[in-house]
Each structure stands twice: as structure tokens, then as C-alpha cells.
Amino acid sequence: MTLTAADVDRIIALLDASRFDRLSLEMDGLKLDLVRNGAAPVAQPAPPPVAPAAPAALPPPTEVAMREAGLVEVKSPLLGIYYRAPRPGEPPFVEIGARVEPDTIIGIIEVMKLMNTARAGVSGEVVEILARNGELVEHGETLLFVRPDR
């Protein structure tokens, strides 16, 4: 597992767009700590990102291999069109880093103009969002990953 400079840029952008001040990412042999300007300093300084090694040509690693153990898949309860936000232009129900409770709404699944709410079903922190806004998801498709509370 490597983390490219572009990956770090993306993560910074995600943090920037979120309402969180701090992000801590831990993967095999790698720890990344990001702190927003003006936020309270963290005790541990973030290590420099690992140097990338010709990332463009690499085939994407399997999704399973990329994820830490113990994450919970939040699956679509039905087939339909997935919407991340209540309305176009409004902020998404959840972003990466958001805390969710079992009844937290994580999206809307539309089936022929009938809007169904999808809920997290678990307590924890959203670490990855797979489903793309406005696209079809099938029954049982993983919408996002949550790191459950211990």
C-alpha cells in the first residue's frame, strides 16, 4: 500500500470541504495526520507522505486489499438511483469523516420518483463513500464504509 502525492492532495481537499479540523488516517505501515489551519495543534506531528513510485501505470489494487479490517459496509436496501443530498445543490447527508448513528440518513434511493431514505444502520465514522450521486445502485450494493465504534 502506497499513498501518492495526488492521494494526499485529494484527502486534503476532502478535509478542507468537510466541517472537520483534523483527519487521522492509518493504514498498514502508514499513518497520515492532517490538521486544518488554526485548529488546535495535535500532539504528534504528521510524518511526510511516502514518496510515490510511478503510480500512473499501476493497476488499481483490489478494493478489499485497500481497506482496513473491521469496516462495516452500508448497503443499499433496494435498487434505485442514489442521491447523496436531499436536493441538488444542498450539502450531502454525510461526508467522509462524518459520524453516523444507526438512524442517520446517508442518502436517498429513488425508485420511479418514490424517494426512499437509506440509513447507516451502524454507529461510527464514515471513511469511504462508494456510491455516486445520481447513479443506479443495485439491491445490496455497498454505498459507503463506516468504521464502527468500539
Partner: protein, 452 residues
């Protein structure tokens, strides 16, 4: 061709059958599956697979909105409903019409017109197609009068029923009122429609149906008939074409009647007009029209050389009929045998499970339509039919000999099937003579029981 991607809204052998023709035509496919069918042969063959919902049909295959959403969301131009499930649901056809997705089948109005047995009967009468003596009765007095006219034995049938569901036999006139009450209550519970009607009961009848194709503009052709008289509790087990020993004038009259019925509706697509052939009277009566592809369509394909699924797609695509009536030639005879995962030793109880090993026959004139391969699962939620073995030959005797040989070559391990039972049916001298009536199988079973 405008149709480039088809959503297949079915499962099992018919899904595989539709996928095959799509492949041959270069049309992309998206298959909607339930959770239980993710690993099916159809799911392997389709270009894309979308899970519609859980295994229970009511939560997956029968969800009209989900199916249409899946088709729209995967950019399909058309939906093929197969048979069963949503194939004769006018709501699906209507929703497709509203959403600009091509429904591969008749119009919603046509489905409704033939789905309501009373309306279909009236339409048959209007088209000059003979119907069995009978009719609706709105009061006990009316029913009594009608029953006297028809004579006993007679049948009480549910207006919303079909395929053998929702009918009761009245042997004696004094039982009529009680039977009608019961039938009406049951029809309300089963079909949400309490209307019932009365009909003459034919003691010795054969089920003979005519395959038609209509362009939706009033042009209709027939592709010959099929005899489906080998039935157990109204479930067809063996089907063949042509109908053996049918007087030529009667056969021609049936074909003409089917065309008249479908043409009057300006029927669009493939459909089947079912008749009850009254053997002692050499008369036939309209039963119903099936507004879909049928399970037994391969026997027609075998003798005509026409791919009915391809014709359905072409018609749906607005290309009309690919042939005229005089282009249709029926070559020889074909017989189809349904192989079901059910145990004849235990009153034909369904036998779901996993197929550990299977071998299907090959050979001259043999065709097998199936979704069953080694390791295939037969979930308990669906129809028990796992394959259709079809034999074609220059004449009926050859087709039958080929079918017998083919069935002897079948090996199915892992679940109980009706294979041996079907072999016994094909070995029966009455069946071999041909032209058995719908009471044949019950007599055959009684005989088998008596011999045991």
C-alpha cells in the same frame, strides 16, 4: 435497429433463452436478478447484472417500479418480460409506455383486454370465434337458468383466474349455488375480483393453441398450433406440434379463428390463442389468449425455423412482421418435455437444492432449453421447471423416438426430478398413438397407482 440494449426481467431457462437471441442479434443485455439468482447461468451470460431485491418474487421479480427503474438506470431501450412474473401485467406495459421504454409485448390495453376472461370471451364472440356455452350470472336465479341452458356438468370460473386457477366443477345442478358462493369468495381472496362465470364442461377435451404474431397494425399471421393436452392439474408437461389426428378442416378453422381474434385487437407481438377441442363433437371453443411468449414456444420454432424471441424484438422495434403467411411452412413434428425439479414419488413435491452434476442430451433434432449446469442452485422460491427437452423430426414417430432416446441420456444428480415419470409418459401406448385428451395424465397416474 433502435433497440440496442434489452433489460431481461425474468429468470431461469427463459432468461437464458432471451439472452441467447439477444447475443445472436448483437443486442446488449442487462439481467435483473434476485439475491438467489446472482450465481445463475443467466447472470453469467448477461452483459450486466442488477440485483432487484431479495429472493422472494414479490420483493424482486414482481416489482414493476424496480424493474423499470433498473432498465432506465442501465440505459436499456426495451424490457423483455419473458413468461410468468410481470409478462402479462398491464401496469408494467403502461409504465413502460409512460417512460418511453419499449415493452417487448402487446400494448397495455391489449393485455387488459385478454387478461379479463369475460372481456376476452365477449371479444371472441364479436370476432366470430366460437366460445364454449356459458356466461356470467349476477343472481342465483340467473345462474340457475343459465345452468339449465348449459347443462351439467359445468364449471364455475373466476373472471380474474386462468391457467387452471380459480375453477370449480359442478356435477349436479343442486350444488350450483353453494359452489358459486365458494368460488366467488375464493376468487375475491386470490385475485381481488369476486366475479365468476359458468361454462359447459367438456368431458373429453384437448388443449390446442395457435401461435400468432401481430404487427400491431392489424396484420396477424399464425405459426401453426400446439397440442398441450398432457397436463397434470392444468400444468402442461408435454407439448407438441402439429396436434395429432386433428381433422384438417378443424385445424384450418382454428388457425383462422386465432387470426380473427388477434386481428380484431390489432394485436402486437407474439401471442397464443388457446382453444378447448371437444373431441366427441369435433368442435372447438375459445379459452383465452396468452399475451406473451410461452414455455412451449420451441416446438413451433423447431418446425417453422423461426426464432420467436427475435420476432418479438423486431415487432417491438417497429419493424413489423418479417414474413407473410405463405412464407410459413411447418416441417415435420416436434415434441417438448418439461423437466421439473419435483418428486413424482411424493405427489410431485418441489425438490429444490443444488445440482451436483448434470448431463443434457445432444443429437439430431434435439434441443435443450435450460439454465441448469453443474453446481446450479434451484432456489425454493420459484417455479420448479429446470429444463425443456425438445425433439424435432420429419414425422411424429421420429420426433418421439428421438425424444425418448434423448431423455434416456439425461443425468441429473442432486435433486429429485420428474425425468423417469416423463419417460414413462412417452412410453405409454396411448401417447404414442397421439391425440390424447386432457384426462390422459390423471388416468395414467391412476393406472400407475393401481399397478403399484
Amino acid at each position: 435497429m433502435a433497440i440496442r440494449r434489452i433489460f431481461v426481467a425474468n429468470r431461469g431457462e427463459i432468461a437464458v433463452r432471451i439472452l441467447r437471441t439477444c447475443r445472436a442479434l448483437g443486442i446488449e443485455t442487462v439481467l435483473g436478478v434476485s439475491e438467489a439468482d446472482r450465481g445463475s447461468l443467466g447472470a453469467e451470460m448477461a452483459d450486466r447484472v442488477l440485483c432487484l431485491g431479495p429472493a422472494q418474487p414479490a420483493l424482486s421479480y414482481l416489482r414493476i417500479e424496480t424493474v423499470v427503474q433498473a432498465a432506465l438506470g442501465s440505459a436499456c431501450d426495451a424490457i423483455h418480460p419473458g413468461y410468468g412474473f410481470l409478462s402479462e401485467r398491464a401496469d408494467l406495459a403502461r409504465l413502460c409506455e409512460a417512460e418511453d421504454v419499449i415493452f417487448i409485448g402487446p400494448t397495455a390495453d391489449q393485455i387488459e383486454a385478454v387478461g379479463d376472461k369475460l372481456r376476452a370471451r365477449a371479444a371472441a364472440g364479436a370476432a366470430g370465434v366460437p366460445v364454449i356455452p356459458g356466461g356470467a350470472a349476477n343472481s342465483p336465479e340467473e345462474a340457475q337458468a343459465l345452468a339449465e341452458q348449459i347443462g351439467v356438468p359445468l364449471l364455475v370460473k373466476a373472471a380474474g383466474g386462468g391457467g387452471g386457477r380459480g375453477m370449480k366443477l359442478v356435477e349436479q345442478a343442486e350444488d350450483l349455488a353453494a359452489t358459486m358462493d365458494m368460488a366467488s369468495a375464493e376468487a375475491e381472496a386470490a385475485f381481488g375480483d369476486a366475479r365468476v362465470y359458468l361454462e359447459r364442461y367438456v368431458r373429453s377435451g384437448r388443449h390446442i393453441e395457435v401461435q400468432v404474431l401481430g404487427d400491431g397494425e392489424g396484420r396477424v399471421i399464425h405459426l401453426g398450433e400446439r397440442d398441450c393436452s398432457v397436463q397434470r392439474r392444468y400444468q402442461k408437461l408435454v407439448e407438441e406440434t402439429p396436434a395429432p389426428h386433428l381433422p384438417p378442416a378443424t385445424r384450418a378453422a382454428m388457425h383462422e379463428a386465432a387470426i380473427r381474434f388477434a386481428a380484431r385487437l390489432s394485436y402486437r407481438g407474439a401471442g397464443t390463442v388457446e382453444f378447448l377441442y371437444d373431441v366427441p363433437r369435433d368442435a372447438f371453443y375459445f379459452l383465452e389468449m396468452n399475451a406473451r411468449i410461452q414455455v412451449e414456444h420451441p416446438v413451433t420454432e423447431a418446425v417453422t425455423g423461426i426464432d420467436l424471441i427475435a420476432e418479438q424484438i423486431a415487432i417491438a422495434d417497429g419493424l413489423g412482421l418479417g414474413m407473410a403467411q405463405q412464407d410459413i411452412a411447418c416441417d415435420g413434428a416436434a415434441i417438448e418435455c418439461r423437466i421439473n425439479a419435483e418428486d413424482p414419488e411424493h405427489d410431485f413435491a418441489p425438490s429444490p437444492g443444488t445440482i451436483s452434476a448434470v448431463r443434457w442430451p445432444t443429437g439430431e433434432g434435439i434441443r435443450v432449453d435450460t439454465h441448469i449446469v453443474d453446481g446450479a442452485r434451484i432456489p425454493p422460491f420459484y417455479d420448479s421447471m429446470i429444463a425443456k427437452v425438445i425433439a424435432h423430426g420429419p414425422d411424429r414417430a421420429t420426433a418421439l423416438a428421438r425424444l425418448r432416446t434423448a431423455l434416456a441420456d439425461v443425468r441429473i444428480a442432486g435433486v429429485a426430478t420428474n425425468l423417469a415419470f416423463q419417460q414413462a409418459v412417452l412410453a405409454d401406448p396411448d401417447f404414442a398413438r397421439g391425440g390424447v385428451d386432457t384426462g390422459f395424465l390423471a388416468r395414467f397416474l391412476d393406472g400407475a397407482k393401481a399397478a403399484a
